[in-house]
């Protein structure tokens, strides 16, 4: 009797799952994980022999398993209910804060040294002011929100060490003090690795101080809440059940709303792209996500042109950086491979700003080849 009962219960479930897997088609892109799912691998004899083919097939099958999102949530739910305070490399902090684990080892240290060297060489051929803004990450600024017993590497030390290797031509901007002072004002997203607009404004203020610019006061902007349902990259990795989403707030004024943008040739009339607010990747609302070369032309005519060599932390800062310039150019060295010194001459750039965040620059290899 026992065997029959088990047989019926088990077989019914098993057969159902097996059949559904064969019948139901799954999407190509996973919104929840924010990535393209594996595609059916093309057959290749040498890959079959090396075992690579079956590995690819395995990940295809896993990626397209029926109700994948449900299993993801179930798995992280189980894992977190056993008392774990991390999942898939992401710490589940207090008050809804998520943090990606931060690693600073030998490789990262070496990479940073090489980058400093490359940037020093680069600066020799540039005769406009150069600013460097290396921004600490949420895990450092909000370390009181980390789970118990987690300690984090002192990013201030990393930033200072890096700055000490840069030559005198480069103006270094350290934002740690300001950020720490304002850390309770939601300057970082809880579910994403980026800063919020409020955080970006602080960067802008610090930059203005160094560059001797009069910053536009925060009170003169129109503060607008554009979405309440932003679940960022940390959440995609950790798949926390019942995670409270972030809000995205923007600061609009006449200057940043009346612009002409050119993203690798694609033209827009705004730095804000509403389309992305209905998608998973809501951060791409700013500056249309990643492009090799983005240019913002404002209505200002003061002859000043800023070049920002950056990672995606600059995207949200663009709403402020465009306030005092005729043109702001953004270059991403991962995709933009032409000598930047030529770019500066051709476009009559008057100021150069490097804007990177610590955990990203540690892994950024393309900066080592900057020219």
């Amino acid at each position: 009797m026992r065997d029959k009962i088990f047989f019926v219960i088990f077989i019914a479930t098993w057969v159902l799952l097996v059949m559904l897997n064969f019948i139901i088609k799954s999407p190509e892109f996973s919104e929840q994980e924010n990535r393209y799912l594996a595609t059916i691998p093309k057959f290749n004899f040498s890959e079959l022999v090396s075992g690579e083919y079956s590995e690819k097939l395995d990940s295809y099958i896993n990626d397209h398993f029926i109700a994948r999102n449900f299993w993801l949530k179930l798995n992280s739910f189980i894992s977190l209910s056993t008392g774990k305070t991390e999942n898939n490399g992401v710490y589940i902090g207090k008050d809804g804060y998520l943090f990606e684990k931060f690693k600073y080892g030998k490789e990262e240290k070496e990479n940073l040294e090489k980058i400093a060297l490359a940037i020093n060489n680069f600066s020799e051929n540039i005769d406009v002011p150069i600013y460097f803004l290396l921004v600490p990450n949420s895990i450092y600024i909000n370390q009181d929100k980390l789970p118990d017993y987690v300690s984090v590497y002192d990013q201030n030390e990393i930033i200072n060490e890096f700055y000490s290797k840069l030559n005198y031509r480069i103006e270094k901007i350290n934002t740690i003090y300001t950020l720490k002072q304002n850390k309770d004002k939601n300057i970082y997203f809880k579910t994403d690795h980026h800063m919020t607009s409020d955080g970006a404004y602080l960067l802008y203020l610090e930059f203005c101080k160094s560059a001797n610019i009069n910053p536009v006061a925060i009170s003169s902007f129109k503060r607008e809440l554009v979405t309440r349902s932003f679940l960022g990259t940390f959440d995609s990795k950790a798949q926390v059940p019942n995670q409270i989403p972030d809000e995205i707030i923007v600061y609009k004024n006449d200057t940043n709303q009346d612009v002409k943008c050119n993203y690798d040739g694609e033209k827009y009339n705004s730095i804000f792209n509403e389309e992305y607010l209905n998608k998973k990747d809501k951060y791409s609302y700013f500056l249309n996500g990643n492009s090799a070369n983005a240019i913002i032309k404002t209505k200002i005519s003061n002859g000043k042109k800023l070049l920002v060599i950056k990672d995606s932390y600059a995207h949200i800062a663009s709403q402020f950086l465009c306030q005092n310039y005729e043109e702001v150019h953004f270059l991403d060295t991962r995709y933009y491979r032409i000598p930047i010194s030529d770019y500066i001459e051709e476009n009559k750039i008057t100021d150069v700003l490097f804007l990177y965040n610590v955990s990203n620059i540690l892994e950024e290899v393309s900066l080592r080849g900057i020219k």
Binding site: F6, F65, L74, D148, V150, S151
Partner: protein, 466 residues
């Protein structure tokens, strides 16, 4: 392919079972062979041809031994051919580079390495072939008359990758007629699910902690962390390995066959002698029957017995991987066993049970340190931290303790026979609702394991060195 994968659980196994149960009796072995070849080819296609050739040779030698059973000389020639070729294959794939490296180190020669990847399962495969041919030679089993059946035996996928070592005599009758029934299916499936849960839910989750220590992904090793770490490894390897055996045994039941048990709650042992009667039992009995006893066992005086024990444990160590740490690990156990045999067991028997358990667990944990690090200097460093570190604990160790305490406690509870006792009690009761409840319990383990596998959680394969 491995059992703990979506492709096995949701594509390979259901299709294979459907065909297996539908086809007439005579074709069941054919389905089995085909399935085994596909299973094996999934990631290890190169070795298939060698495996097939070995099967032909084993079968041919077995037949000839049978044919010349009364001609001692001829019979021995066929035995030697088969044994030598099998050992040569094992040696070539597994130990050639190890020996070359050592020769290079000793003589400063520069013999190039062969760099042949070790085929998964080669150790299990050759040991099974050897048991067959030796048993036929000894007259313990009749030689297999049908190559079809022999091929089924030698390719049998449930045990091909991580054991148990199934001797021909265990399954010889079932190669001909299988005991297929709904009851056996249910029984087997439940056993399989238990094994799957052990591997996916316990071993993989605990293994994540060991993985951090193994890869050196921590800032400072404190005494506390070193102990949590090695406990994690001990639990990981037990649940991984015994989980695999459970899955293999369960599958065999589903197919209407019966394998030998491989683990019997090893961590409740009160001595190392007992531990090895409970750990990887099919390997222990293999070495006993085919090496230790033929060498004379304990019948030729204490000195010879000590020699025999050392030989067996040197080989046991080497069987687990071609590296000095495995050999040291084997010899370590050999020495402990000799000491226990000479006098320690008698002393232990007089001590309270608690001490005997602590003694055994301590020695076992130290053995896992040797097993876990290929680099012997790391082994000694780690043991030093375990016993002499000044840093008793630090923030980091508390973090890992907090994160892994639950799963470690679950692991410890599950390595005690309480579940077995509980299960026996339930089995005696005739209660429909209880049956429904337990069925859903098994289903839950199956689905939770699925969740872990679908999401590509940490799922290491530990037997690539075997």
């Amino acid at each position: 392919m491995v059992f703990s994968s979506v492709v096995f659980l949701y594509i390979f196994l259901p299709i294979m079972l459907l065909i297996y149960f539908v086809v007439p009796k005579k074709l069941k072995n054919a389905v089995m062979i085909l399935a085994s070849l596909i299973f094996f080819a999934w990631g290890e296609i190169r070795y298939i041809f060698i495996m097939l050739l070995l099967a032909v040779m084993d079968f041919w030698c077995g037949k000839n031994i049978d044919k010349f059973y009364d001609d001692k000389k001829k019979k021995r020639v066929y035995l030697l051919i088969d044994v030598c070729v099998n050992l040569l294959i094992l040696f070539f794939f597994k130990y050639a580079d190890f020996i070359i490296t050592n020769i290079n180190n000793l003589t400063h020669l520069n013999i190039p390495l062969l760099n042949i990847p070790l085929p998964i399962g080669v150790s299990f495969n050759t040991f099974q072939s050897l048991s067959y041919i030796i048993d036929v030679y000894r007259g313990n089993v009749k030689c297999e008359k049908s190559f079809y059946n022999y091929l089924t035996y030698t390719t049998l996928f449930p045990q091909i990758i991580a054991g148990p070592i199934v001797r021909y005599e265990t399954v010889d009758e079932e190669l001909e007629t299988k005991n297929i029934s709904l009851d056996n299916f249910s029984k087997g499936m439940r056993r399989f699910i238990i094994g799957l849960g052990k591997k996916v839910l316990i071993a993989n989750n605990i293994g994540m902690l060991w993985n951090i220590l193994e890869t050196g992904n921590y800032s400072e090793l404190s005494m506390l962390l070193s102990w949590i770490g090695i406990c994690a490894f001990a639990l990981q390897i037990y649940f991984d390995f015994s989980g695999y055996s459970d899955m293999a045994i369960g599958l065999a039941w589903i197919f209407g066959m019966d394998f030998d048990e491989n683990f019997n709650y090893p961590y409740i042992s009160k001595s190392i002698t007992e531990f090895w009667r409970r750990w990887h039992m099919t390997l222990g009995s293999w070495f006993r029957d085919y090496i230790y006893i033929p060498l004379g066992g304990n019948r030729k005086g204490l000195l010879k017995q000590i020699r025999n024990i050392l030989i067996v444990w040197f080989l046991t160590g080497a069987w687990h991987g071609a590296s000095w740490n495995f050999i040291l690990w084997g010899v370590y156990f050999g020495i402990v066993l000799i000491i226990e045999k000479i006098f320690l067991l008698k002393i232990l028997e007089k001590l309270p049970k608690v001490f005997r358990h602590i003694y055994s667990i301590l020695l076992i944990l130290v053995s896992w340190v040797i097993f876990a690090f290929e680099d012997l200097s790391k082994v000694f460093e780690y043991i030093k931290v375990m016993f002499t570190s000044d840093i008793i604990y630090n923030q980091e160790s508390l973090y890992y303790l907090k994160n892994y305490l639950f799963i470690i406690v679950v692991g410890i509870l599950c390595s005690l026979p309480i579940w077995k006792i509980l299960k026996e009690k339930i089995d005696k009761k005739e209660n429909k609702w209880l049956d429904i409840l337990t069925s859903f319990g098994y289903l839950a383990i199956f689905l939770l394991s699925t969740a872990s596998l679908v999401t590509d959680s940490f799922n290491p394969f530990l037997y690539f060195r075997f």
